[in-house]
């Protein structure tokens, strides 16, 4: 990093100018134990999402490692069927609901979107904070369940009737269903925050056709969340109602239907895959220009692809149900749809390749992870083409082939870009660079381990090993392949340990990053690392798709926002023209208190329907506490200082 020594500054921003100190005072977030629960700044919330989701990633990984140990040998005794079923259900649910979406969409989204937009905070910061607490509540619920032998055990999609009242006694499936409620309310809240931030808080000049692809993708994902997540909330609520108050949605004896569950679930479940994968492509599209030193090729094509994926993602859900015996005609239709959705992803791939050809690749660590992404995700995408074909799906559906496929897609489409993104943005978050040598070790260990474990699973699937079996007979000839698959776990574990060591080491002793260590072009690099709570000393204006690269020598800054109250600029959705100024809200304990009352109501409703009428008044009280106007709008400067320095 010697080349950018001129850019390096201390990671802690010490405001020097008068305006900076006033801004720092106005946007100050409280500290201390209770301050932690009052903080509503998006960098804090985004970091929390990332850290929490990463911890869940580690926990889910531990479960996976134990399951692999169980499968190493035929008729192994590491786990019994009961524990194994809980392990794989909690593993899947954790990775999807507590890691992938919170990390890729909420974590990166909440942290980055306001910075890339060039605004001071996310829209509805209290809602964002509330969403985080609910996400945490959902995660704790699922894991406390596992630790108290109440771990969900009907698979991460909890098909009925198996998860219904007749076949899963006790509260295991209820814990799962309520975890869904927690995490989906959280994702929906965040989606509103992110969509509104992107639509109304972009820096002046960042018109729709200059919006970085990251923002486009986050916008599309927000809308996908808004249309997809209600489906899973509806279906998990139906499951809860069936289990708790004896509704008959899924009871075939009295007009209910088991396939209704599958339709509703996958109407959410397939868009969910794209909700997980699109943030990955967002990271790729953000990083490729930086490390090829070239504007991305085919901006419009990529944006159109992303939007098309958003729409098509809702039209392919039945391909999870080909083996249910649906009519040939509709199977063909959904095969066609599933193949069509390959095209937008392929288009993005080709555009990245074109960018790589036109640019000059820099051998930096995040780019290495992007290579990993290209390799791994391509395999996952192509095995997806195989699965889209109905007859092939009839054979390999619900086998280890599918397990291999979706790990290639999800680890390839989310975890590899995540690590690329973490190595890229951690300097912004902590102010210090990550160690590149350790990063290379991390990559190669993870890449080798991943392929050992999951590529082998393709063969296991073709050779008839169904998924979700806790053991198998020695005469099935699956032993040797399973040993290979388990051996990869050792590599991946080592890789993750290397990453953790690297993170904690670099956080303390890493090279100082400076504002823009990668010489990147988007707005998050126009401020200090880590960013101050007011994000930008002067709000920027934008002149091109890569704001910093395309800036004119005297690119204008925004003046006229008050620095004595937390004011943000609201711009027009399309052209990003300034429309009005809005005073945003400051730190508050109420989102946390609300999340407590809401959580208590949700958890209570696992056990009795009366929890809802009894819990509702408390929810209302905390909501009123949250939303009741304080002070006058707009406040005088003295009042503002009074409010925010003692609040």
């Amino acid at each position: 990093m010697s080349s950018h020594s001129v850019l390096i500054s201390e990671p802690k921003v010490i405001p020097t100018s008068d305006s900076a100190s006033r801004l720092a005072r106005t946007w100050r977030q409280p500290s201390g134990f209770w301050g932690w629960f009052s903080n509503v700044h998006h960098t804090a919330i985004g970091t929390r999402y990332m850290v929490t989701a990463f911890i869940f990633f580690l926990l889910g990984g531990v479960l996976a490692a134990v399951m692999r140990l169980q499968l190493t040998r035929p008729e192994n005794n590491v786990l019994g069927p009961d524990a194994y079923n809980q392990f794989f259900t909690v593993h899947g649910s954790t990775m999807i609901f507590l890691f992938a979406v919170p990390m890729m969409f909420q974590g990166f989204g909440v942290y980055l979107v306001p910075l890339v937009c060039g605004t001071r905070n996310i829209a509805f910061p209290r809602l964002a904070a509330f969403s985080y607490y609910l996400f945490l509540g959902g995660g704790l619920l699922l894991w406390i369940g596992l630790l108290t032998n109440t771990g969900a055990d009907a698979g991460w999609f909890s098909y009925v009737p198996l998860a219904g009242p007749a076949f899963t006694p006790g509260k295991r499936a209820d814990f799962w269903a309520q975890m869904i409620t927690f995490t989906e309310v959280s994702a929906l809240g965040t989606a509103i925050c992110i969509a509104v931030t992107i639509l109304r808080h972009r820096a002046p000049g960042m018109t729709l056709n200059r919006m970085p692809i990251l923002l486009w993708e986050k916008l599309v994902i927000s809308f996908m969340v808004i249309f997809a997540m209600p489906a899973v909330m509806v279906v998990s609520s139906m499951l809860l109602l069936d289990r708790l108050v004896s509704t008959q949605f899924f009871n075939p004896a009295v007009g209910g239907d088991a396939l209704l569950y599958q339709h509703l679930f996958w109407f959410f479940g397939h868009p969910e895959v794209y909700i997980i994968f699109l943030p990955g492509t967002a990271i790729v599209s953000s990083l490729v220009p930086v490390f090829t030193r070239r504007h991305i090729f085919g901006y419009t094509l990529i944006v159109l692809s992303v939007v098309a994926t958003g729409f098509l993602g809702f039209g392919v859900w039945v391909h999870h149900m080909f083996a249910t015996g649906i009519p040939q005609m509709s199977a063909s239709f959904f095969t066609a749809a599933s193949l069509v959705i390959v095209i937008p992803t392929a288009v993005q791939f080709f555009c990245w390749i074109a960018t790589v050809w036109n640019g000059r690749i820099q051998p930096k660590l995040p780019m290495l992870w992007l290579f990993g992404f290209f390799f791994v995700f391509l395999i996952g995408g192509l095995s997806g083409v195989m699965l889209a074909s109905v007859p092939v799906d009839w054979q390999v559906h619900d086998t280890f082939f599918v397990v291999a496929h979706f790990h290639y897609v999800l680890i390839g489409g989310a975890v590899f870009p995540m690590f690329a993104g973490l190595y890229f943005w951690i300097p912004k978050i902590t102010g210090r660079m990550m160690n590149s040598t350790l990063g290379h070790w991390h990559f190669w260990l993870f890449f080798i381990g991943f392929n050992l474990t999951f590529f082998t699973m393709h063969f296991l699937g073709l050779r008839g090993m169904p998924r979700r079996i806790y053991t198998y007979s020695p005469d099935m000839h699956w032993n040797a392949l399973n040993v290979v698959a388990t051996s990869g776990v050792a590599f991946m574990t080592a890789a993750i340990l290397v990453f953790l060591a690297n993170f904690f080491y670099s956080k303390k002793y890493g090279e100082l990053a400076g504002d823009n260590p990668w010489a990147a072009g988007s707005l998050e690099w126009a401020t200090a690392s880590p960013p101050p709570h007011y994000n930008f000393l002067d709000l920027p204006t934008v002149n091109g798709r890569e704001a910093l690269w395309d800036a004119e020598p005297d690119q204008a800054i925004v003046v006229g926002l008050r620095d004595d109250v937390p004011e943000v600029l609201v711009t027009n959705s399309l052209d990003s023209d300034p429309e009005h100024k809005e005073e945003t809200v400051g730190p508050s304990i109420w989102p946390f208190l609300t999340s407590i009352t809401v959580s208590a109501t949700f958890v209570g409703s696992i056990f009795t329907a009366w929890a809802i009428p009894y819990g509702a008044p408390f929810v209302v009280i905390t909501l009123i506490g949250w939303l009741w106007p304080r002070g006058h709008s707009p406040m005088t400067r003295e009042e503002a200082i009074e409010e925010y320095s003692h609040g």
């Binding site: 076949f167 030193r293 195989m386």
Partner: protein
């Protein structure tokens, strides 16, 4: 010494072969014995090679592009290109999209054709029909006949004639299961409240393994079945044998064994036609001595395995619906003698 090391080497080779993709395995999509699985295997390989080609080309193009302009030392940073040569790139992207779309069309077309072939007609007059009902965690098979006394009921072992069309009607008694014998055809879910039909015909005589492929609870792993494909005359003989009521016990042990059966918990769940035992909760045992395996393909049908299974099934299949049956050793021996005699 020489021989030993050679054997050791051979066994290693064998292990390597068994692990390698070359070995199709006994329960495998790549070792078809029926036209249905054969068609799917063909389709699989066609799509596989298309995808393999796509993978190789994409990776080659990508890494060539990356290597071509690779900057070893990034100081000073290369300037940001303002107006790169986008013309070639546009041709590349356009061409690549065209190839992708055409390949996808080919895949779609072949999938639909193969799907039609595999699904076939299920309303054939001359077919053998099997009604398969999924239970937690075993398979019930009925060969329906308009004469009730010619209906065959058995469990976990489906006999089919070679070369003749077999229509499977599916149903489930509790949760969703999935009928899958990969050497024969693709899987089909058994969904409570739905019944569906599919058909296949096995070309090669043999015993083929199958397994439940939709997660169905605690013993999903031990819900196997076998398809015994045999020449038509053997099949007919089997059918005749299965239609008959249970063989009358002849020896003293067998008679005592039947008494043990009828006075213990067995009778609460199992049927032996020709006796008072008529419960339909567990598998029909009228001809259980003729089956190869017990406990849904979990154990071989031997005296020892049977004894272990009757005494403590929860150790073998934890969570299974079969209850432990503590009994006196002589009772157990006689019971097993009787059960084994039910050919």
């Amino acid at each position: 010494m020489f021989t030993l090391s050679r054997i050791g080497g051979l066994s290693h080779l064998l292990a390597i072969y068994q692990a390698s993709p070359l070995n199709p395995g006994r329960h495998s999509t790549l070792n078809p014995v029926a036209p249905q699985a054969g068609n799917i295997e063909w389709l699989y390989w066609v799509i596989f090679w298309i995808c393999f080609g796509a993978f190789v080309i994409t990776i080659l193009v990508f890494f060539t592009g990356a290597a071509r302009k690779y900057v070893r030392q990034a100081t000073p940073l290369p300037p940001i290109k303002e107006h790169p040569a986008d013309g070639i790139a546009a041709w590349f992207v356009g061409g690549a999209i065209t190839v992708t779309v055409l390949s996808l069309f080919a895949v779609l077309f072949m999938s639909i054709i193969t799907g039609k072939k595999v699904e076939g007609a299920t309303a054939e007059r001359n077919a053998v029909t099997i009604q398969v009902t999924g239970h937690q965690w075993w398979w019930e098979a009925t060969y329906p006949n308009w004469q009730a006394n010619l209906t065959v009921t058995t469990a976990n072992e489906f006999h089919v004639p070679v070369g003749k069309k077999v229509v499977v009607l599916t149903n489930s008694n509790d949760v969703i299961h999935s009928f899958w014998a990969p050497n024969i055809t693709g899987k089909r879910d058994l969904i409570p409240g739905y019944s569906s039909a599919f058909s296949f015909e096995v070309d090669k005589p043999g015993i083929y393994h199958g397994q439940c492929a939709e997660f169905c609870g605690l013993q999903h792993a031990h819900m196997g079945f076998s398809v015994v494909a045999e020449p038509e005359d053997q099949f007919a003989a089997w059918q005749n044998q299965q239609v008959a009521p249970a063989r009358e016990p002849t020896t003293a042990e067998e008679i005592r064994g039947r008494t043990v059966f009828l006075t213990h918990a067995c009778v609460m769940c199992h049927t032996i036609r020709g006796t008072d035992a008529g419960s339909r909760v567990g598998p029909d045992l009228t001809h259980m001595g003729s089956r190869r395996m017990i406990a849904a393909e979990t154990l071989p049908n031997t005296r020892g395995a049977l004894a272990g299974w009757i005494l403590d099934p929860q150790r073998i299949k934890p969570g299974s619906r079969m209850t432990p049956n503590p009994m006196r050793p002589d009772d157990l021996q006689d019971l097993i003698t009787y059960l084994e005699s039910l050919q």
